[in-house]
Symmetry: C2
Subunit: 434 residues, 2 copies
């Protein structure tokens, strides 16, 4: 069902489309100036933003929102610092619009170039995390797009405060105010209408729970790049360095357990399960991780070799895993642990249970690492590093609009370049086709 031509949402989208034309032609310096102005605004209005956020967090607590979502919602001074740093990093990046990515000649003398251009109008539908409001606005500005932002109701006050900064930044740089617009309603029907506006909107990016994503995919007439859940894996190979294995497993699980790039399942090669698991499990247990093990892992954990050095009460807290645990995104201090047979077993487990998000291998064997990086189905594959690095900022993109878990258009963290297309520009001197 398409929206009536005069609906308020269609008018909003049309205004964004007109602004997108102006954005595509706006000089790089002007778009970067808008991003810097937003960063300056964030610095000047930090107190307002934090107090708006406190309102949202208090309301979330009162409404009984989960600890994970409340953590995602909360802004702290450190998080505002990070946001500001991301804005300045994005502003300073090379501008993608108009860049020639490749160039070649044809036998008939035609010179062919691929040239980057903005996608047009991008609809971001997201939940909880208010940083997305600024990250997405900045990345859309950097890539010459217009953006329609639809944040979650739980972050309403924070998003409103941040959106004020975006509008002020656009105005300070002389860009059209409709280059970034916010959907003025929290009504879910608004999403249903927006995703049918294929004449006005070029790309929909839903970032949130499975319910939101399924709703968007089912209704959209516009291309969708999904930012799905992260069922992320760390695989401890036979040739793993035990110290790296421990550091990476602990970091991947506990550094911020409520986010999508945290580890949900630990895989251990059967050849070293008995050697590594006791120390790994004891360390995770000591940090409050609830452990759910396959039978082989339970057996390997029974090895008493490490008990000489301390308390072994963690053994009593181990629980058997259920089949559902292999497919769970816990987003909390719960971890599934499974023994597998080598790289092949790890790849097969991730094929069957992963969400194409993040996988890490710990190994000193370069051939095993190469095979894992080639064969495993994940947008980001890490060798001897924590899954927590699958993040636009950490990988050098400045920030991200999210992490795509489908291979079409973009795979993994999406920075400014992921919000562009490439056209063919062909120069001739009168060539015709024979």
């Amino acid at each position: 069902m398409s929206a009536p031509p005069d609906s308020p949402l269609r008018a909003l989208a049309r205004a964004a489309k007109d602004a997108a034309r102006a954005m595509a032609r706006a000089p790089a310096a002007q778009r970067a100036a808008a991003i810097r102005a937003i960063a300056e605004g964030l610095s000047a209005r930090r107190a307002d933003v934090l107090s708006a956020n406190r309102l949202d967090v208090e309301a979330a607590r009162a409404a009984g929102l989960s600890e994970t979502l409340t953590d995602r919602l909360s802004l702290t001074h450190a998080r505002v610092d990070a946001l500001q740093g991301a804005l300045l990093e994005i502003a300073a990046q090379p501008d993608p619009v108009g860049a020639t990515t490749r160039e070649w000649s044809r036998p008939n003398g035609l010179r062919v170039r691929r040239v980057r251009l903005p996608l047009g109008v991008i609809l971001m539908i997201y939940e909880a995390r208010p940083n997305v409001t600024l990250d997405a606005a900045a990345l859309c500005l950097k890539s010459g797009n217009a953006a329609i932002l639809r944040g979650g109701s739980e972050a309403r006050a924070t998003n409103a405060a941040l959106f004020t900064l975006v509008s002020a930044g656009l105005s300070a740089a002389g860009l059209p105010p409709e280059a970034v617009v916010m959907v003025p309603t929290q009504d879910r029907d608004a999403i249903d209408e927006l995703v049918t506006l294929s004449e006005e909107i070029d790309l929909v990016i839903p970032r949130g729970g499975p319910g939101l994503i399924a709703r968007v995919v089912a209704r959209s007439r516009i291309p969708v790049v999904r930012h799905d859940q992260g069922i992320c894996h760390v695989y401890i190979d036979a040739a793993a360095d035990p110290r790296k294995a421990l550091d990476i497993a602990v970091n991947a699980k506990t550094q911020r357990p409520g986010v999508c790039n945290a580890m949900e399942t630990l895989l251990v090669d059967s050849a070293v399960a008995a050697a590594h698991l006791p120390a790994l499990l004891a360390a995770l247990d000591a940090r409050g991780v609830e452990l759910r093990l396959c039978p082989a892992a339970l057996a390997a954990a029974g090895d008493a070799a490490c008990d000489a050095s301390g308390d072994a009460s963690w053994r009593a807290r181990l629980a058997p895993a259920t089949p559902a645990d292999w497919d769970a995104e816990f987003l909390s201090l719960t971890l599934a642990v499974r023994v597998v047979d080598g790289v092949e077993g790890a790849v097969a487990h991730i094929d069957a249970h992963g969400s194409r998000h993040t996988a890490a291998i710990v190994t000193e064997d370069a051939a095993a690492a190469e095979r894992f990086t080639r064969e495993v189905d994940a947008s980001c594959v890490l060798v001897n590093a924590s899954t927590r690095f699958n993040d636009g900022g950490e990988l050098g993109l400045g920030a991200e609009v999210g992490i795509s878990t489908t291979r079409v258009h973009a795979f993994g963290p999406m920075g400014a370049e992921s919000l562009t297309a490439e056209k063919f520009v062909v120069w001739g001197d009168g060539q015709v086709r024979g």
Copy 2:
């Protein structure tokens, strides 16, 4: 509505998904060998293919299929030669799978690479042109994907003959037979079911009339890259070389009028309309083109300057354009002609009426050409060359699965590389996030 788990089409898609895993790991040489084997088969079985095609063409004529579609359907010796050349060119191209496209380091020592990988399973839904069967199969093989092909009923016999060659090529190279499968029914409901199989299929490419594309977009739960109609423009600038203008306009309109990169509207700068139009219109009329003009073009055509040199009876055949003509994909020897004010006027007309397919400018003014290539909304923008070059083969891609008219994922002709994604591969030595 999702398909029942045991439906025959889902079983077909699952088999393709299993084959896709094998294809992603198959060496480049093996996949190239399959493509060469298909080319050899085409050479050995050319007579069978042509006689199958004659059956389809006769049936099409008997059923009253349009001249345009019958032309698209027909194979000739020259077209088979071209197909064979395309297969060999694709086989010889560098393999995209596993290629590192970029590489950088982070301050913490992480080394980040972007590495190409196949998309997975690609569903091609196409009409008429049987060459798509081989082009799509070869490009999917080259990019390590599996393909599900669903050609149109009008090309049934030809597609069956060509598909035999594909199966034989896969078998000769030792690749799984399900790496390229053909949908065994012409039932339209099959399309409706296939586009819901988001667990098995990664990308849907519909290539055909607006009805087919609308049907797929409305029902698909899988990402779709549309290959829409081509409302293509040639703009004759004030600084155009008259000879190039004439050659390009005639070629773009008449060399093969039934295809998507043929010109449908000719735009002429008002500053030179009176100078150029009489010669242009006379030449097009002489090749049987039916001309529909805006009032300013009709006035400019009245200039008698060129009549000295010959017959001016073409003037009597000019007709006024109706508003619908600006939005028409004629696919025949009909052309709309409009006078516009400079590059700005041309860009505005194409913004309003183009289909993001192809636009050409004829000019000796580099600044005008630069502006046109930057601002015009088309997947391929040509300077002083015919629109007919917006074609994967002509631009050096070997062949194409089609020409994408949406900016998401790919824009313009899609070769093997457009059927890949890029994952992040990150090497560390124990890094964790602080």
